[in-house]
C-alpha cells in the first residue's frame, strides 16, 4: 500500500544532504512551509542552495536558516524587502551568493525542469543586465533569451490538504510556487493542514497529483512550536 504520509516533521526532512538544492515554496506570508524550514534547520544540512521567491523575512523561517549560515547560494526574484535584514547583512558581507531571476522566468524554469523541457526562449529580461551572458535569438521579430530548467534535490512546500498518495490541494494564494516546485525536485515534501482519506479530494480539483510528491506531513500553524507530532 502506498503511504506517503510521515509521522513527524523530522521524518519529513530526513536525509537531506549537505550541498543540496532545496526549493522552498511560498510568497511573502502565503503558502510558506514554515514548519518544514524549521525542521530543516534542526536537521542540520549545510551548504544549501535555496530556490525561492524571496530571501527570507524577519528572523524566522528562511531568514533563520540563512542566519544560521546554512545557505551558500540563493536563487530568487525578490530578495530585498524592508524586513530582509538577515539576507541583506550576509549578502553585503559576501557570505551568500545571489542569482537574481525575473519572477516569471523563475516560475517557468521550475516548470521546465518538472516538464522535461531542455531549455526555452522567453522575451522577459531581453536587453537587460539579467540577460547578460545568455544566448539570445530573435523569434518573430522579437528578441528572446534562452533559459534553462531549474532542478532541485528537494522541494519543501505547503498545501492545505493531502492524502496518502500525495495528492494535494492548496489554499488561496498559498498555491503560488508549490505545484511547480513539486514537479521539479527529486524529493518533494509537503506539509499540509490536514491529511484526508484517499478519495476525499475531488479528482477534478486536485492541483498536485501524488506522482510529484514523496512525503506528506501534517503540520498546523498552531503547532509551529512543536516540531514533532503524529500525522492523522
Amino acid at each position: 500500500m502506498i503511504d506517503k504520509t510521515v509521522p513527524t516533521l523530522d521524518a519529513a526532512v530526513a536525509g537531506i544532504a549537505d550541498g543540496s538544492t532545496v526549493m522552498v515554496g511560498g510568497f511573502a506570508t502565503s503558502g510558506v512551509p514554515l514548519e518544514l524550514i524549521d525542521a530543516l534547520l534542526a536537521q542540520g544540512a549545510r551548504e544549501l542552495t535555496i530556490v525561492s521567491n524571496h530571501a527570507g523575512n524577519g528572523d524566522t523561517g528562511l531568514a533563520a536558516l540563512i542566519a544560521a549560515g546554512r545557505v551558500r547560494r540563493i536563487v530568487c526574484s525578490y530578495p530585498r524587502h524592508k524586513d530582509s535584514w538577515v539576507f541583506d547583512r550576509l549578502f553585503k558581507a559576501g557570505r551568500i551568493e545571489l542569482e537574481l531571476v525575473p519572477q516569471g522566468t523563475l516560475a517557468e524554469r521550475i516548470r521546465a525542469a518538472g516538464a522535461g523541457i531542455g531549455a526555452f526562449y522567453t522575451p522577459a529580461a531581453s536587453g537587460t543586465e539579467l540577460a547578460q551572458g545568455k544566448e539570445t535569438r530573435v523569434i518573430d521579430g522579437r528578441a528572446h533569451v534562452l533559459e534553462h530548467p531549474l532542478h532541485a534535490d528537494v522541494a519543501l512546500i505547503r498545501a492545505d490538504r493531502g492524502d496518502r498518495w500525495g495528492n494535494l490541494v492548496y489554499r488561496m494564494a498559498g498555491r503560488n510556487f508549490g505545484p511547480i516546485m513539486a514537479t521539479a525536485a527529486r524529493l518533494t515534501v509537503a506539509q499540509v493542514r490536514e491529511v484526508v482519506p484517499l478519495g476525499a479530494l475531488d479528482p477534478e480539483a486536485i492541483v498536485t497529483p501524488g506522482i510529484f510528491v514523496a512525503r506528506v506531513v501534517q503540520a498546523n500553524r498552531a503547532d509551529a512550536d512543536t516540531r514533532s507530532r503524529t500525522a492523522a
Binding site: 525578490y78 530585498r80 524587502h81 519572477q103 516569471g104 522566468t105 517557468e108 516548470r111 539579467l130 498555491r175
Partner: protein, 218 residues
C-alpha cells in the same frame, strides 16, 4: 505661473479613467495599487495579481486579513465572486502570453523610446530585486507608467536614454506623472494633458527631452 501637481490619488483616478470596462489589469507594487480604488463595480475591471489571483477584490477589512490571501504587494486582499486561484507558472503564462490588457507600473525612468527602468537604481550598494517587473513590462498588451515627473533633486524622470538599469526596452505606451499625461508614439512623446496652470513650454523645459503637444488632437 502657478500650478498644483496632481496628487497621487488624482493620478490614480486619471489612470483608472483610461482603463476600459471589462479589461484584465495588473497593478504594480507601490503607487499603481491606488488605481484599484478608482474602479466602480459596474465596470467590472478584472484585476490580476501575479502571485496567482484573477478577480482580485478590495483590500481585506481590518480583522478579516488572511495570510494566504494577499496581493503581490503583500497586502491582504479579497477575491470577488468569479475570481480564481492558480499557480505561478500559470500566472506568468497569462502575463507573458499577452493576456493582460493593461499593466500599470511605477518607474525610476522612462526613455523617449519607451524603455523602462523600474527594478534597480543601479546604486553600487543596492541589493537588486526584480520580482515580476521584467515579465510584466515585456508581456502585457499595454504598459502604463505612473511616477513623479521629477526626482527629488528636480531632474526629469523622462529621459533621452536610461541611466538606471533597463527593465524592458520599448515597452511603455503611456506615462502618467504628477504634471502630465504623455503617450509614447513612433513620432515621439506626445503630451495629452498638463496640470492646470502649467504651460507646454514650461513642461518641455522641465522634462528636457523633445515633446509634441498633442492636446488639440484629444
Amino acid at each position: 505661473m502657478t500650478y498644483d501637481r496632481y496628487t497621487r490619488d488624482q493620478m490614480a483616478s486619471r489612470v483608472a479613467r483610461d482603463i476600459p470596462a471589462c479589461s484584465y489589469v495588473n497593478l504594480g507594487i507601490g503607487m499603481p495599487t491606488l488605481v484599484g480604488n478608482h474602479f466602480t463595480a459596474d465596470r467590472e475591471v478584472i484585476l490580476h495579481s501575479e502571485n496567482g489571483l484573477l478577480g482580485m477584490g478590495p483590500p481585506a477589512a481590518p480583522g478579516h486579513e488572511d495570510p494566504d490571501l494577499i496581493n503581490a504587494s503583500r497586502t491582504p486582499v479579497t477575491l470577488l465572486p468569479g475570481g480564481a486561484y492558480f499557480h505561478h507558472a500559470d500566472s506568468f503564462a497569462m502575463i507573458r502570453g499577452g493576456h493582460i490588457d493593461i499593466c500599470v507600473l511605477g518607474a525610476f525612468q522612462v526613455s523617449v523610446a519607451g524603455d523602462l527602468a523600474n527594478w534597480h537604481t543601479g546604486a553600487a550598494d543596492a541589493i537588486p530585486a526584480v520580482g515580476g517587473a521584467m515579465d510584466l513590462a515585456a508581456g502585457a498588451k499595454r504598459v502604463y507608467v505612473m511616477m513623479g515627473h521629477l526626482t527629488k533633486a528636480g531632474e526629469s524622470k523622462i529621459v533621452e536614454r536610461l541611466s538606471c538599469p533597463v527593465t524592458a526596452l520599448a515597452c511603455v505606451d503611456r506615462i502618467y506623472t504628477d504634471l502630465a499625461v504623455i503617450d509614447v508614439t513612433p513620432r515621439g512623446l506626445v503630451v495629452r494633458e498638463i496640470v492646470d496652470g502649467l504651460a507646454f513650454g514650461e513642461l518641455a523645459r522641465l522634462t528636457g527631452v523633445a515633446l509634441v503637444d498633442g492636446r488639440s488632437s484629444g
